[in-house]
Point group: C2
Chain length 173, copies 2
Amino acid sequence: MPKGLLIVFTGNGKGKTTAALGMAVRAAGHGLKVCFIQFIKGGWHYGELDAVKRFEDLIDLHVMGKGFTWKSDNIEEDARLAREAWDFASTAIASGKYHTVVLDEFTYLLHYNMLEIEPCLDVLAARNPNQHVVITGRYAPEPLIAAADLVTEMQMIKHPLKSGIKAQKGIEF
Amino acid sequence: MPKGLLIVFTGNGKGKTTAALGMAVRAAGHGLKVCFIQFIKGGWHYGELDAVKRFEDLIDLHVMGKGFTWKSDNIEEDARLAREAWDFASTAIASGKYHTVVLDEFTYLLHYNMLEIEPCLDVLAARNPNQHVVITGRYAPEPLIAAADLVTEMQMIKHPLKSGIKAQKGIEF
């Protein structure tokens, strides 16, 4: 029997979203349906978007946070938008339509207390037991790590932006 | 001016090859050419292969180690095959045809002394200065880390195979 895994890619190193993209594409390679929800505006650029377009029959991509960056001075408004985005994700998870649901950069909503973690964990626990969920982002909170089946911490050992090399097409975006 | 980066994904956690696949797909999303060389037989399965097929105009995939696993009892033969695989990779790197060359699970050839590291670093250093190279695998040796621009260590915090859950389609392969 397959068991749906809760997978977390966290840590301060490069490769979290990139690995989630790799997982989405691999599942799609098997002909399996994926819902990829990007929680932070500006995290994705044309490279990812155009890549995913080749799989539009299998990967549903949703960019949340349109028009805002979760960094406004209006905490109330941020929290409201976070709840809206999470409601959308919950619906996708509960639909049972997907082999894998990716919640990209979702940890920030928990870390910055825009969402309460317990109701989120309840939604994850209530999902179809065959469904995989992949969550990425720095600062994955302890209760999320405790609930997860697979956790990788991407640790930065070296990063070129630290050496003054600028972000580049096909690498950072 | 773009600068070709030497990127290393190492560590014992899940996500190294997956992140390299994500990078390949992202670069292809930009319309950039990628050469993806898989050094260990059996590391890739149909999910990845079928996914990459949607990008066959942009991603050249080569599976080395066909018919062997680098784990024979014949060390001489392993070393010969490793050199052949590296010669192939060197030619791809030197061709200048690619925005990014991925050497997936390449570190094992260095770690198990099937190749000498210094000539490999020379080939990497002599490449087109705009070309990116992504190297994955556990046990990245120190001189490779020293030469790299970006290094992420994927650290296993939790892994389901440790809890007795079997490898699954769309997740491990």
